[in-house]
Amino acid sequence: MTTLSGNDTASGIPRTRFGRAYLAYAVEPWLYLSPAILLLIFVMLIPLGIGISYSVQSINLLRPFETGYVGLENFEALGEDARFWTALVNTFWWTFGSVTLQFFLGLGLALLLSRPFHGKRIVQALVFLPWAVPTFLIALTFSWLLNPVIGPLPHWGAAVGLLEEPYNILSDPGTAMWGPILANVWYGVPFFAITLLAALQSIPGELYEAAEIDGASAWQCFTKITLPFLGPMIAITIMLRAIWIANFADLIYVMTGGGPANSTQILSSYIFTTAFRRLDFGYASAIAVALLGVLLVYAVILLFVRARLVKF
């Protein structure tokens, strides 16, 4: 009998903590995970650590002999850098403008798509298409659309009285930010529509039927059923999306390069310009650390709000 129980481990059912079968069982998932983990550590986490360490060093590829530890010098320079503070304010407007417009247009689209109508499948495919267009191409397309020589938008803007004459809004510091925001709205509406559509479909249909029997209007159904149901999910999606958009510099970099006169520079495009054009890795990393700090503060607020929302 004692020999039999010894055979149990060999049949694939781990009996003891230290048996070979148990060891294989415990090791197996790590075997499958190891390529992913190793790649993430070597390509993302270690460079992240190195990047943070760059922020207290002087590393400029154009001045290779002045490399070394400089303490908080980069951050002190940051405090006196007017471009940095402009970029911080611009980051806020860029994120706020994009998220607000994307959300309301996305919500409208999701509400339209949540009801059946003729040709819904093809409509759905067409309105989601912008999501798949490469971002560099979106940026180029919109800067062409805004160019009075080959684009119709300035002429339309002048015709309806938005612009005094058909000029390129990207070359005017007062209006330039609207260009990338417009492109970003075009790109981001499908994302919000898809997420909100998925959430809308999770609301039980009986609720609407019951409300209809009780004589509720469509508007009452929307404010009394749809909004309370989607509220928490909407808040989380918006806040996560805001982080993503604050980091999203492709459109701005291609459309305006941060100009004219720094009027569209956001923190992430400023990081890239500093690293790519000026090859000043130390200073670029200091801006990046500052951006990370801003995002962390924001994330803490986000977690706080989330805790409040889940409670109710």
Binding site: A26, P29, Y32, L33, A36, I37, L39, L40, F42, V43, M44, L45, I46, P47, L48, I50, G51, I52, Y54, I59, G108, L112, R115, P116, L126, V127, F128, L129, W131, A132, V133, P134, T135, F136, L140, T141, F142, W144, P148, V149, I150, P152, W186, F191, I194, T195, W244, N247, A249, I271, F272, A275, F276, F281, A288, V289, L291, L292, L295, A299
Partner: protein, 280 residues
Amino acid sequence: MAALRRTPPLAVVGTYLAILAYVAFALFPLYWLLKIALTPERLIYSDGTALWPSALTLENFRAVLFATDFLAYFRNSVIVSLGTAAATALIAAAAGYAFSRFAFRGKRLVIALMLVTQMFPLLMIIAPIYKIVAALGLLNSLTSLIIVYTAFNIPFATFLMQSFFDGIPKDLEEAAMMDGCTRLQALRKVILPLTLPGLGATLGFVFTAAWSELFFALMLIRSDDTMTFPVGLLSFVSKFSVDWGQMMAAGVLALVPSCLFFAFIQRYLVQGLTSGAVKG
């Protein structure tokens, strides 16, 4: 249906008008891209802002394909995107399978690690990556781009693959293993066929992401013969900024693979975007 039938006709008309407006908004910029690409060069300035060109030509496409380096850029981008998609799908499938089928100590830690890599600004690591890649002598090589893009896409792809594995009942492979299959055989004969659509969707999402990545490609690739499409297009735009027709023809070419993959992954958009949570 019932709700739509009871609504007054005016509201129905309004709904269809709103839908039409959204479709027009989504398609108009792409229509314009195609329109200018098809307009003959001599007509660009007279027809530039007209809604419909008075003559059509394929000359711009011919010029872009045969007189510029765009075919090479296109090939480089296809290599990078396909390589990234294949490597990511393979690695993420293994990781997603581990998440879906095993309960083990440290699982939450690994998930946290993956989420962290999604939350910090990617531009934070562009300088260190440049230094490392330069030290390894891999600047201007497509391999370095494939490795970097694969790492970027793994967390998202892992969660996506996990959601597909979660949809396959565990009993299926257990039954196969009970009947004498090893885990690998069970995977190949039972799970793989069932998860092929999921694998396809992951390939599509990652391909689309790699196809449009710009900043790391700009940073790591400076030589003409390994430029990817975005880098090539931007340098073309800065050099020949009045060749409108050719620039837009090149843009239309960049759109083709994305549209193909979009048609392919369209059914999985909801799953992909909701399991990615933070990814655009």
